[in-house]
C-alpha cells in the first residue's frame, strides 16, 4: 500500500509537470508565475519524506529539462535542492501550518531563482539583475497563493497522514 502511494505521488508530479508546460507556462506571458511542480514536490516531500522527495525531485527535473529545457540537469539539480531544503526546515522544527508552509514555499522559490541564475552564470549565460530582482519579489507571492489554494485539497485527500504528521515525519526523515 505504501509503495502504491509513492507511485501515485510520483504520477501526480508527472501530471503537475504536464499541466505546468501546457497551461501555467503560458500564463508567464501575462506576468503570472506559478510553479505547480514545485508546490507538489514540496507536498510530496512533506508527506513521503526526504528520500523520496530528493529522488522524485531529480526525476521530475530531468523530465522537465528533456521536454522543455535547453540545458538538461538544471531543473533536476534545483528540485533536488528544494527537497533537501524542505527536509532540513522541517527537521529544524517547522510545523504543519499554513503560515509555516508559506515560509517553506518562500524559501524554496528564492532558492530556485538564485540557484538557476548561479548555474547559468557559471555556464556563461548572461544575467539581468533588475529582472532577477523582480522575480525574487514576484514569484514567491504567486507560489504562496497557489500553495494556499492547493494544500486544503491535499489535506482533505490525505487526512490520516496529516493528523499524525508531526509524529510521523521525524521517523520518515
Amino acid at each position: 500500500m505504501k509503495i502504491i502511494n509513492k507511485i501515485l505521488h510520483f504520477l501526480l508530479l508527472i501530471a503537475a509537470l504536464v499541466i505546468q508546460i501546457t497551461f501555467f507556462e503560458h500564463l508567464k506571458m501575462f506576468n503570472i508565475y506559478f510553479d505547480l511542480v514545485l508546490i507538489i514536490l514540496v507536498a510530496v516531500t512533506l508527506i513521503d519524506g526526504a528520500f523520496y522527495g530528493i529522488i522524485f525531485g531529480f526525476a521530475v527535473g530531468i523530465l522537465l529539462d528533456l521536454i522543455a529545457g535547453d540545458l538538461i540537469g538544471i531543473s533536476a539539480l534545483i528540485y533536488t535542492l528544494d527537497a533537501f531544503i524542505v527536509w532540513r526546515l522541517v527537521e529544524a522544527g517547522l510545523k504543519y501550518r499554513l503560515s509555516s508552509q508559506a515560509v517553506l514555499i518562500f524559501a524554496v522559490t528564492e532558492t530556485n531563482i538564485i540557484a538557476a541564475a548561479l548555474i547559468r552564470y557559471l555556464f556563461n549565460y548572461g544575467i539581468s539583475l533588475p529582472l532577477l530582482g523582480v522575480e525574487l519579489l514576484l514569484r514567491p507571492v504567486f507560489n504562496i497563493i497557489l500553495m494556499a489554494l492547493l494544500y486544503p485539497l491535499i489535506r482533505i485527500s490525505l487526512r490520516q497522514r496529516t493528523e499524525s504528521f508531526e509524529f510521523k515525519y521525524k521517523d520518515k526523515a
Partner: protein, 269 residues
C-alpha cells in the same frame, strides 16, 4: 535509526548533485545522445500534452482576450488604414510579380518557389529568462527537421531546434539564444536579430550613419544558414544611439503575437 536515515539522505543528495553536474556539463558541451533522449521524451509526452493543451486552451484564450479587449478600437482603426494601403500595394505587386517571372524566364533564372508549409498545433510552452520555446505536434515523421523556420500567420515565429518523431521544439525569435540574419526591407542593410532576457527583440550591427526609421520592416536575409530570405519578422519600434556604442540600439516589434500562439506553419525545405 534516525541517524542512519539522515546519513542515507545525505549520501543520496551528494550522489544526485554530482550526477546533475555531470549531466549539465554533457548537455552544455552538446551530445548526440542527449538529443536522442530529448527527442524520445518529446514523443512519449506528445499525446498527453496535446490533449491537455486543448483542454486548457479556452482558459488561456480568455486571458489573452482580456488583454486584447482594451485595445480593440484602436487596433481596428489601425488595421483599417493598413488594409487600405495593402490593397493598393497588392495591385502593384501582382504586376511586378508577373513582370519578374517573365524576366526570370527570359534570362533563364529559376522562377521563385513558393514555400512548402506544414500547419502544426502548439501543444506546450516554456519560458524563463533564458528560454522562450514552444512545442509543436509535428516531428520527423511529418518531414520536420532541425533548423526549419516556423511562421505564424503574421510573421516569423522561430526555428525548430529539436525534432522528435511526433513532436518538436521551436525556439522563438524572442529567445535570448536566438540569432538570425536579417535585412531592413527598404534600405537592404544587413543586421542580426537577437532575443533578450527582457523579451525584447533587437536588430544588431546597424551603424549610426546607416538609414533606419521607426516603422521600417525587417525581413530575413539570404545569408542565413537555414531560413529562406524575405520572411517577415517585424517592424522597427525604437531607435537609440548610445554613447560609446559603435552600433545603434534598435528594438523590433515582431509581427507575430507570441502570447496567442495556437497554430504555426513549418517551412519544409
Amino acid at each position: 535509526m534516525v541517524n542512519s536515515r539522515r546519513f542515507r539522505n545525505i549520501v543520496i543528495l551528494i550522489v544526485i548533485i554530482f550526477l546533475c553536474l555531470a549531466v549539465i556539463t554533457i548537455s552544455f558541451r552538446g551530445s548526440g545522445f542527449t538529443e536522442r533522449v530529448k527527442a524520445k521524451t518529446l514523443d512519449i509526452f506528445e499525446p498527453v500534452q496535446e490533449k491537455m493543451f486543448s483542454f486548457f486552451n479556452p482558459v488561456t484564450v480568455f486571458f489573452t482576450s482580456i488583454g486584447d479587449y482594451f485595445g480593440l478600437r484602436k487596433k481596428y482603426l489601425e488595421l483599417e488604414k493598413e488594409n487600405a494601403s495593402l490593397r493598393q500595394e497588392y495591385v502593384k505587386d501582382v504586376s511586378l510579380r508577373v513582370e519578374n517571372d517573365a524576366l526570370r524566364k527570359l534570362l533563364g533564372i529559376d522562377i521563385r518557389q513558393e514555400h512548402d508549409m506544414l500547419v502544426v498545433k502548439v501543444i506546450g510552452f516554456y519560458e524563463n529568462r533564458w528560454q522562450s520555446e514552444v512545442i509543436i505536434n509535428a516531428g520527423t515523421s511529418d518531414g520536420v527537421q532541425e533548423g526549419m523556420g516556423v511562421m505564424g500567420y503574421s510573421g516569423l515565429a522561430g526555428m525548430v531546434i529539436s525534432a522528435g518523431n511526433r513532436s518538436s521544439t521551436v525556439r522563438l525569435i524572442s529567445d535570448p539564444q536566438s540569432s538570425l540574419g536579417a535585412r531592413i526591407l527598404s534600405s537592404r542593410k544587413l543586421g542580426l536579430i537577437e532575443g533578450s532576457q527582457e523579451g525584447d527583440i533587437y536588430l544588431r550591427y546597424i551603424a549610426p550613419e546607416e538609414e533606419v526609421y521607426k516603422g521600417d520592416i525587417i525581413v530575413t536575409s539570404e545569408y542565413g544558414e537555414y531560413l529562406p530570405p524575405d520572411l517577415l519578422i517585424g517592424r522597427v519600434s525604437s531607435i537609440k544611439d548610445l554613447p560609446g556604442d559603435p552600433y545603434r540600439e534598435i528594438i523590433v516589434e515582431p509581427f507575430e503575437e507570441f502570447r496567442a500562439l495556437e497554430y504555426l506553419m513549418v517551412l519544409r525545405r
